[in-house]
C-alpha cells in the first residue's frame, strides 16, 4: 500500500512538474500598453449606477462610436442568498451610456458555466426583465451560439484548437463586466477569469471542465490571448469574499471599476480586495498582456487606499495577502 502511495505521489509530482515546465515554455504575446487607465468610482447602491457609469466612461473613454459592442457580464447561477452575478441595473446603465456615446449596437452575451437553462437564470437573476424594459439590447446565450475554430497561440493549455462563439468574434468591442469576487480555485475571479463564460457549454459541457483540466490559470491566459478584452467595467458595489464565486458572503465594497486594460483592471480590483496582484498566478502569467505595476497605471477617480477593504480569503489563498 505504501509503495503504491509512493508511486502515485511520484507520478503526480511528475505531472505537476510537466505542467510547470509547460508554463515556462509557453508564449504569451507581448501586448502591454505603455500606460493603462483605471478609474475607481464610489457607488453605494445600484440605483446610482446611471450617473456613476456616465462619469466612469468619461474618465476611461472607450472608443465605441459606430461600433458593435458586446457586454460580457458574470452570470453564473442564481441564489437569493448570495450576490453572485453582475447586477442587472449596472448592465442596464452601461447599455444606455454606450448608446449615448454612439455605439451602433450593444448586445449582452454570456454562457453560464453551471446552468444549461439560461432562460430560467435570466428570469431569476432579474437580467431578463431589465433587458425587456430597456428594449435596446438583446441577449445571446453563448452556450448555444455557432462557433468558429481558433488555434490557441500560447501553448499553455496544449489544446490544438478552441471553438469560440461567432458572436464574440464578430464584435468590434468586448467589454468585460465581472463581479468582484474571490474564487476557490483561481484566488480571484475578475475580468480575465470572466472569459470562461465565453466558451460554449454545448461544445465543452457544464461546467467547462476541460479548462480546469488544462489548468485554470493556463486557460485564463489562453482565453485572454484568444479573445482580447477591450474595456472592463467591474461591479464592486456588492462584492463577494471567502468561498467565492458562489458561496461567499457579500462584501459591500461600494465601487465600480472602469479600465481600458483587463490586467490593470484586475490588478486594481485585487488591491481593492487587499490582495497583492503579483501573487495571483494568472495575473503574473498575463503580465505581457497588460500593466500590473502601479507606475504604469494612471489612476482616476477615488484612490485605491480610500476604497480598499481586507477581504476574507480561504486559508488556501492566505498567501495572496498584500
Amino acid at each position: 500500500m505504501k509503495r503504491r502511495s509512493l508511486v502515485g505521489a511520484a507520478a503526480l509530482a511528475a505531472t505537476a512538474g510537466l505542467g510547470i515546465h509547460q508554463s515556462k515554455v509557453s508564449h504569451v504575446p507581448y501586448r502591454r500598453p505603455r500606460r493603462s487607465h483605471v478609474a475607481v468610482l464610489h457607488c453605494d447602491r445600484y440605483e446610482r449606477t446611471p450617473q456613476v457609469v456616465e462619469h466612469g466612461l468619461q474618465l476611461v473613454r472607450p472608443s465605441v462610436q459606430g461600433k458593435h459592442v458586446l457586454l460580457k457580464p458574470n452570470l453564473v447561477e442564481y441564489s437569493p442568498a448570495a450576490t453572485i452575478n453582475t447586477h442587472p441595473m449596472l448592465i442596464a446603465a452601461v447599455i444606455d451610456a454606450l448608446y449615448k456615446l454612439g455605439a451602433a449596437s450593444v448586445i449582452v452575451a454570456e454562457g453560464p458555466g453551471h446552468i444549461r437553462d439560461t432562460d430560467l437564470l435570466l428570469y431569476e437573476s432579474g437580467l431578463g426583465a431589465q433587458l425587456e424594459i430597456l428594449k435596446r439590447a438583446s441577449f445571446v446565450d453563448l452556450n448555444f451560439d455557432s462557433v468558429t475554430r481558433v488555434v490557441p497561440g500560447t501553448g499553455l493549455t496544449q489544446l490544438k484548437e478552441l471553438w469560440l462563439p461567432t458572436t464574440v468574434q464578430s464584435a468590434d468591442v468586448v467589454i468585460s463586466m465581472p463581479k468582484i469576487k474571490t474564487h476557490h480555485w483561481a484566488g480571484v475571479t475578475l475580468s480575465l477569469k470572466n472569459s470562461f463564460g465565453i466558451l460554449a457549454g454545448s461544445v465543452y459541457g457544464w461546467p467547462k471542465n476541460v479548462l480546469h483540466w488544462k489548468g485554470i490559470d493556463n486557460s485564463i491566459v489562453e482565453l485572454a490571448v484568444s479573445v482580447p478584452i477591450h474595456f472592463v467595467i467591474a461591479d464592486g458595489i456588492e462584492a463577494m469574499e471567502g468561498n467565492g464565486p458562489l458561496h461567499g458572503p457579500m462584501r459591500r465594497l461600494g465601487c465600480v471599476v472602469f479600465a481600458d486594460d483587463p490586467v490593470a483592471a484586475d490588478a486594481t480590483c485585487c488591491r481593492l480586495m487587499g490582495i497583492d496582484p503579483g501573487r495571483v498566478r494568472h495575473l503574473q502569467m498575463a503580465a505581457p498582456l497588460g500593466n500590473i505595476d502601479l507606475a504604469n497605471i494612471e489612476q482616476r477617480g477615488e484612490s485605491v487606499e480610500r476604497v480598499m477593504q481586507r477581504f476574507d480569503l480561504l486559508p488556501e489563498f492566505a498567501y495572496l495577502r498584500g
Binding site: T15, E77, D117, Y123, V147, G205, W206, V210, W213
Partner: protein
C-alpha cells in the same frame, strides 16, 4: 400568442420542426425524436456521426461529446434500419471506451490524497461531457438511458448508477456533478435532476428517500417557473416515476411555451413536444 390547448401547441411545434431546422446535434436529435411518428428520417443525423462513432455538439467539430452521442442514440432508437443499427453499434463502442478521468488510478490517488475539497467517490465513475475530463451528471444520465433504451448490457452501467447516487445533493436533486464543495452543500438544478431521475427510473433499492426528495424538489422548484426547457425535462421525469405533480407542470409548460413560442430554439420546442405527448415521452422504447 394567447392561451392555446396542449394539442394545438404541440401540433404547432411539430409544424415548426417539420418546416425549419436548428443548427446543432441537440436540435436535430430531439427534433427527430419529436417527429418519430410523423415521417421523420434519421439519415440527416446519421450523416453527422463522426468516423469514431461519436457525435459532437455541432457537425465536424471537436471535441466529441458523450452527451450528444447518447442523445443521438436515443433519437435514432425508434428507427430500426440496418444503417441505424450499424451507427448505434459504433456509437456504443465509442461510449463504452470513454471514461471519466477519475476512473484512472493516478487521478483516484490525486482525489483521495490531495484534492479533497470536492466530496465524491472517485471509484464510482460515469461519463464525462468530453474526453479527458471527469464524469458529470448529464452525460452519465443520458448514456445510462441510451444503453437501457437499446437494451444493451454493459459493465459500465452499474458504476454509473452508483456515481449518480454518490453525486446527489444532500437534500435531494442533482447539481452538474458535485454535491459538496469546500464544505458547502450545492443546490440542485432542475434539468440535471430530471435527467438523473430518468436514468434511475427502474428503482434504486435503498435510495427510495433520495428519489422521493428529488421528485418533490423538482415539482416544487418549477411550480412558478416560466422556462419551457426545465419544465419539459421535469414533466418527463415526474411522469417516468408516476409522480402526482406531473399534470400541474404539464399545464404550466403549455402556457409558458405558448407565451414564448416564437423565441424558443428547436431543441427546446422538440423537448416540449415530447413532454406534451399524451403520455409524456421518457426515452424508453419497448423491446423489439
Amino acid at each position: 400568442m394567447g392561451v392555446i390547448s396542449c394539442v394545438t401547441i404541440r401540433s404547432q411545434i411539430l409544424q415548426r420542426l417539420t418546416t425549419t431546422s436548428g443548427h446543432g446535434i441537440e436540435d436535430t436529435a430531439l427534433s427527430l425524436l419529436a417527429l418519430r411518428n410523423s415521417g421523420a428520417d434519421p439519415r440527416a443525423l446519421l450523416g453527422k456521426q463522426h468516423r469514431s462513432g461519436a457525435w459532437s455538439a455541432l457537425p465536424n467539430i471537436d471535441p466529441l461529446s458523450a452527451f450528444h452521442t447518447a442523445l443521438a442514440l436515443l433519437a435514432i432508437r425508434p428507427f430500426q434500419t440496418t444503417a441505424v443499427r450499424r451507427a448505434a453499434g459504433r456509437a456504443f463502442e465509442w461510449l463504452s471506451e470513454l471514461r471519466g478521468l477519475e476512473s484512472h488510478w493516478l487521478w483516484q490517488w490525486k482525489f483521495r490524497l490531495f484534492d479533497r475539497q470536492v466530496r465524491f467517490d472517485p471509484l464510482k465513475s460515469g461519463w464525462p461531457w468530453v474526453p479527458d475530463t471527469v464524469s458529470w451528471v448529464a452525460p452519465t444520465a443520458l448514456s445510462i438511458a441510451a444503453f437501457r433504451a437499446w437494451h444493451r448490457e454493459s459493465t459500465r452501467i452499474a458504476p454509473a448508477i452508483a456515481m449518480l447516487l454518490d453525486r446527489a445533493c444532500p437534500k435531494g436533486g442533482w447539481n452538474a456533478g458535485n454535491s459538496v464543495v469546500f464544505g458547502v452543500d450545492l443546490d440542485p438544478h432542475p434539468d440535471f435532476t430530471a435527467m438523473a431521475l430518468l436514468a434511475l427510473r427502474n428503482g434504486s433499492p435503498g435510495h427510495e428517500v433520495l428519489l422521493r426528495r428529488s421528485l418533490d424538489y423538482l415539482g416544487a422548484r418549477l411550480e412558478g417557473s416560466s422556462s419551457p426547457y426545465s419544465l419539459a425535462w421535469a414533466v418527463m421525469a415526474l411522469s417516468a416515476h408516476g409522480h402526482q405533480g406531473v399534470d400541474h407542470l404539464k399545464n404550466r409548460l403549455e402556457r409558458c411555451t405558448a407565451a414564448k413560442f416564437d423565441r424558443l430554439p428547436h431543441r427546446v420546442l422538440a423537448l416540449v413536444a415530447l413532454a406534451l405527448e399524451d403520455i409524456p415521452y421518457t426515452f424508453e422504447e419497448p423491446s423489439r
